[in-house]
Symmetry: C2
């Protein structure tokens, strides 16, 4: 009999109809006359209730659960199994415990219980796989930290099911938004011989035999025998290659894994994470901010529209202000604020007695506490901060022109005069998260770009292809980067970035 | 003035309206009275024609093209530039050559030329970036091999624009198909401590200092000081982790980069390529084949429906049978054929005088010539081949039961009796491409899986998490893998896999 997904069974009101559901047992309660099995198949956070009269149900199949094994990598011992097609069932209803996988056939009936619409009066149950008492997700109230050790099984819990469904939906929102706006999904390479921003530690990628490293006379390792004939690493950003796409196809976005070999054991850092990086030709700073705001509101609205059940669960169990915060984000106009004006506001706050741990004078990189003050206390809504000092941002950002012949001052967004050189950055700061988007107009003048590269003493020999975009038909363009997991943190209310990706990669941890 | 994309300008019939377009010059012809500029902005393969009366157009802006530079990494010398906002233009219309980037404002008029609907009568032209004679995409009739050296600029050509737009569309088709069918996009890790199939060479990922490698007393390299505290590599497949997702969320798909460190310099191999790997709980072999066929037809239909202009261009320039082949794929019912029956057909052909280079006896892996014979000559349509010999396929595939108590024979799809043990594989073979999908039902019995693992003498200490899916609530499930670039080859008619990804990674090549 054809299986119906539980999400569809729960919506159906075709009472009296025979249905077949398949899934994993969340709970199994026995009362005097009947048993109740709550079954989940991942299609929704909601379980369907299977009502079973033990006297009137056929139970077939079953494979014995395997013996206990520790998670240190010891292979489990094989145990006795039974033939699933055996005529005489080896197992009975009482063996169908939490975590077991079954197929239940029965009649769809209107539920008597509160909060449920439909349930199933079972006529037969087929056991696909039983589940021993050592099933690690059986225990209620485990910490997220403990569950990370069983990341392969935590996916079967309510919280991680909800997070993963929302994660999928956010990816779909991203693809839909860009597709509908004429952007092309552009696959930039992960293995790279260049280093986007000169920033951060990179993972080396090699096929060299580490036991027999070829070296030159001075003892320097030679890479001509490595797979790519040169030293290569995992990319820290697809932006520079993305610009190649945008200056040919008009508007592109990347959405793929990105790597940082930072030894940071924090709730905000992963060694392998997903980035979204749109790049658009002919976009100016104002249009870039419009794009950032429209894009992120579209994603949040998508979650509110498409992930209602999962959000309600997370709002109840994880963060009671979640849905309210998402709604407020969609409804509010983001503040557009120059860095220079932001510093003024922070210094006024200090004058009025607000204490910060870190200094915030013009030219300083803002700390998380400063960003949160502006977003959560001063404006109480998302802020797009613009026109940062040149020195604290990347080399490729578009330089503002000097103010009134001044050698040091510059003119930024809406004519704001800054005391030093600034660039057309446009970062989006969010409550709780801080910087969720880092964007800028890109410097399209070859000479200005080269001057900045030289000022920073960057090596250009591996960037010739990037510089070519400014040599042949250079065009104004802009783009931004969004850390996908930061968006998922915001939309789920989860606190640790390791809990919004299936199998986190962090220092000393690459299991699964 | 707000820019209109060229794709929209060409559709518009609002003649007399003032429009602003921005893009790159494809050609610039001068006739007696007027100039014609064909402009492209990547939004479509079609150019808009800008008609310019040199006497009545304002030309402003312009940055001198940079001096010539070889692609060997020599940094170009900086040259004189002019201020884009200068009141007196430094450059004139004749400087607007192929590859230059401009903004043109003018009146939309009905085109007099054949094959074009609308064109623009220019009133002003702003030069964003000029383009010197050394622009590598200027030369007509370059080979694709030559263009690969300028992969950063080939994106601005008709062929690569078309291929990249189709590539985007195929990605969108994939996400749309799975989203609409209740699959969740599941991000499996790229850095891994395990090796999916024991197949193929892997790239090592490390942060170790290669000049000071820590070793134990026996001289073996120790990895406790590496980033992840163990030896890690780039994944060759996300399938095993995908099964963790499917056995929790019901149906997932991966779509991400995958790596093979094979030293293969062929038109079919990349070291870094994109894979699509759906995994579905409760799917049997027949349903898996339905999914494969329905999915790939959906993608091809999407291309026919959404990439008309680009396909027509490729059909004209690259492969005159392209559109016909795509239409035939969508319309035909795929043949479902056991491996055993396939071998019989091949041997009948040999008996009738057909010559093959490689043998094809039962138990042999089919060569490309065999697959192509079946698909292109015998059936003349796509074939789903099932029930391969156990020995030539991966360990995780579902084993068919023995036939009539035989120790060697087995019963496969539709009761087909095979002379040896077979597995429930379901590979899709396409004309020209060969294997485009590799799929199978997965073995859900812990004991059968372990027996196969032991038979192959595989190490299980890094696969404990995978085996756990068969220990706790094991369920029947199935899935397949599609090499994304092979799909793009099929849909574009391109011959070399290096020409359907923006920046190919191959032995000795990791530029851009």
């Amino acid at each position: 009999m054809k299986r119906t997904k539980i999400i569809d069974v729960l919506k159906s009101t075709e009472y009296g109809k025979e249905v077949c559901v398949k899934g994993w047992v969340r709970t199994h309660r026995s009362s005097k006359a009947v048993d109740f099995i709550a079954l989940n198949d991942g299609s929704t956070i909601n379980n369907v209730q299977i009502v079973v009269d033990p006297a009137n149900v056929t139970v077939v199949g079953g494979t014995a659960p395997q013996s206990s094994v520790t998670v240190d990598g010891t292979a489990p011992q094989s145990t006795v199994t039974v033939d699933c097609a055996a005529a005489v069932p080896q197992f009975s209803l009482k063996d169908v415990t939490t975590g077991a996988c079954i197929c239940a056939v029965g009649t769809l009936v209107e539920s008597q219980g509160a909060g449920q619409s439909s349930e199933i009066q079972a006529t037969s149950i087929e056991i696909y796989g039983l589940c021993g008492n050592d099933y690690p997700m059986q225990k209620k109230g485990q910490s997220f930290e403990a569950m990370r050790k069983n990341a392969h099984m935590r996916l079967r819990t309510n919280t991680f099911g909800a997070v993963m469904r929302i994660r999928h939906n956010m990816a779909m929102a991203i693809h839909t938004y860009f597709h509908d706006h004429g952007f092309y999904y552009f696959h930039t390479p992960l293995i790279t011989a260049s280093d986007c921003e000169g920033a951060g530690n990179m993972f080396q990628v090699t096929t060299k035999n580490l036991y027999d490293l070829k070296k030159d006379e001075a003892g320097k390792i030679i890479y001509d025998d490595d797979f790519f004939g040169q030293q290569t690493s995992l990319t820290v950003s697809g932006q520079l290659e993305g610009e190649l796409g945008a200056t040919a196809l008009g508007a592109i976005y990347t959405f793929g894994p990105t790597f940082r070999a930072e030894n940071s054991n924090t709730p905000r850092h992963l060694a392998e994470f997903w980035m979204v990086e749109p790049e658009v030709a002919f976009l100016d700073q104002e249009e870039l901010m419009d794009l950032e705001e429209d894009f992120i509101k579209f994603c949040v609205r998508w979650a509110l529209d498409n992930c209602k059940d999962d959000l309600e669960f997370l709002n109840k169990m994880i963060d009671k202000t979640l849905i309210e915060r998402l709604q407020s984000t969609v409804q509010s106009d983001f503040v557009r604020l120059t860095y220079t004006r932001g510093i003024e506001i922070l210094q006024e706050a200090i004058k009025n007695g607000r204490k910060f741990e870190f200094p915030c004078n013009w030219g300083d990189d803002l700390a998380s506490e400063h960003e949160r003050y502006l977003v959560e206390e001063h404006f109480k809504k998302p802020v797009i901060m613009t026109d940062y000092p040149t020195a604290i941002k990347a080399f490729y950002m578009k330089q503002n022109s000097a103010s009134g012949g001044s050698a040091v001052g510059s003119v930024g967004y809406q004519g704001c005069i800054a005391p030093g050189p600034t660039m057309q950055g446009t970062d989006v700061l969010f409550p709780q998260i801080g910087e969720i988007i880092g964007g800028s107009v890109r410097e399209e003048s070859y000479d200005k770009l080269m001057a900045e590269i030289n000022r920073r003493q960057m090596e250009t020999d591996k960037l010739w292809w990037y510089l070519d975009t400014r040599r042949w038909g250079s065009c104004p363009h802009a783009g931004f980067g969004l850390g996908f997991e930061r968006l998922i943190l915001f939309v789920t209310g989860m606190q640790n970035i390791r809990d919004v990706i299936p199998f986190p990669r962090t220092p000393k941890s690459a299991d699964f």
